[in-house]
Symmetry: C2
Subunit: 317 residues, 2 copies
């Protein structure tokens, strides 16, 4: 089965019976109503040589990134992170590696007010296998789901894309990427602050983070809404450092289909755009297109409008 | 580093700063005060050919057991399980395996009122690698920790021990274990009901579940209290089916050092013993000894009192 088929199985089979479960499988976080607040729960796994390679990571940055990918899921709902559980599963770990890894996780979590409060240690014979589960919260009703977009809503991404995938390709081809690409891959910043503003001011109608590539994640957002999208190639913010390096594809390829950007992808009703710009002041945002009724994604490029099939990262493809 | 060294590192390094964290790393669950109730969080990983073998498991029972080991951690605090997150990490999974695995997890969780509401799917190239995170709750103040025992407190286990380890050895030697041993290994019952009674009636002073063998887990309980224990070999409840099969060691060895019993191990102040028996009515409980001041574990066997060094399962030993 492909990753999408497995996820579809879980979405279909899981029908929460607890009435306080606001949102189960299928969004960036599960959401539970706790009366005075909503609790957010997310979990993400990173596997050595599947998600990261010690050829260009050290244990410190593995820890930072594990924290970041989970923090990004809390950001994608507009929540505030708080507590984490760590599952460390390794063939063995040295007295040099463990403190570095721990320092990486805990400093990154602490930047956003979160900390590790539990976990489990086991052995995975061949490779590091790491899971972090992150628990956050938001005011009751104050989160943005994937579902909620309407035709005509403007589609935004929160920052330039493609840097992480560009760095990865350079390393894999034996080159040292420029600093800004390296940082995007090793130590991405989750958009916690922006997510909270969008949720608390009720500015976005739908939101998720971009972890598997813009096109694939946009397709997921559209599917959650039974809608489509029209986006313009010229409006896609391509990370500028991609123009300075030698890659196998055009820079926009990495922005459209590269993974692990951890930018936010969100939709805004057109009447709220002015208020959005006002609220976010100097923060640059990138409007790349808008939501349409037809359940197709169109890319406008050089004046031509073409259907695109989303491609991005599938673990089992 | 050994598993105990890694765990000791985490215990030492983790000092929760959020005031509402009642209990962090070092107990069966992390505990967060949510005002009107306490939230319990636990997570456990099972790795193919480390924790289970498809030679005698099928995906259904892998799912059941993954649920059980996590449910047992909630039982060990006296809590009520509610929500779970599943991290499924496999080389690939077939259309036959996934529904069986899902059915196993969800039926076992549902027996105790819990359900899967989120998770993550990734690839682990060599083997199944499964993590479940379970969220439960208890009335504020109504949980039993590992810490809380006092010298003179009676030590109890909740049921006969050694069956799971006995089954495993038989399989590994090519024999089919009797049904009761098989069930203990494949589909252990977490002591949710007993845990809740002990916590809600405030009967136990300290409690944990036995996952890595009675002696090793008793040593952990003693260490958490800076105390020791004296236990009697004749009082250790050895699973009766161990007497009917041919094993490499005496049956009591499996009861003392076998893993994965998922019985509760708890201490009771002597003045509460009558009330305990009254409250639990027909449920058999096994008093195996008592807590002592000296930080040593003594085993009394054939009238001889000897120090024992705990041995049990260490993933990295």
């Amino acid at each position: 089965m492909t990753e999408e088929e497995i996820l579809a199985f879980f979405r279909k089979k899981s029908k929460p019976v607890h009435r306080e479960v606001i949102c189960g499988i299928g969004d960036d976080c599960a959401v539970i109503s706790r009366g005075s607040f909503w609790e957010l729960l997310t979990t993400d796994t990173m596997v050595e040589n599947v998600h990261f390679d010690f050829a260009y990571f050290d244990p410190y940055f593995v820890g930072r990134k594990l924290a970041a990918v989970n923090l990004s899921d809390i950001a994608a709902m507009g929540g505030e992170p708080a507590y984490a559980l760590l599952n460390l599963s390794v063939p063995g770990i040295s007295e040099r590696e463990l403190p570095l890894f721990w320092e990486g996780i805990t400093t990154k979590l602490a930047n956003y007010g979160a900390e590790v409060i539990g976990g489990d240690v086991t052995r995975n014979p061949e490779r590091w296998h790491l899971t972090l589960t992150l628990i956050g919260h938001a005011p009751s009703g104050g989160v943005i789901f994937r579902q909620g977009a309407r035709p005509g809503d403007l589609i935004f991404v929160s920052r330039p894309l493609g840097a992480s995938a560009g760095a990865l390709e350079l390393w894999q081809q034996g080159f040292e990427p420029p600093e800004s690409l390296k940082r995007a891959h090793l130590d991405p910043e989750p958009e916690i602050r922006l997510g909270k503003v969008l949720a608390q001011e009720n500015l976005a109608s739908a939101m998720m983070d971009i972890s598997d590539g813009l096109l694939l994640d946009l397709a997921r957002l559209c599917r959650a809404n039974s809608l489509g999208a029209e986006i313009e190639a010229e409006k896609i913010p391509v990370h500028e450092a991609l123009n300075e390096v030698s890659l196998s594809q055009e820079p926009i390829f990495y922005a459209l289909s590269g993974g692990e950007d951890f930018a936010l992808l969100f939709t805004v009703p057109p009447e709220k755009e002015r208020f959005l710009r006002l609220k976010l002041g100097s923060q640059r945002l990138f409007q790349i297109g808008y939501i349409i009724e037809e359940q197709i994604i169109y890319l406008i490029k050089n004046g031509q409008k073409e259907k695109v099939s989303p491609s991005g990262f599938d673990h089992f493809a």
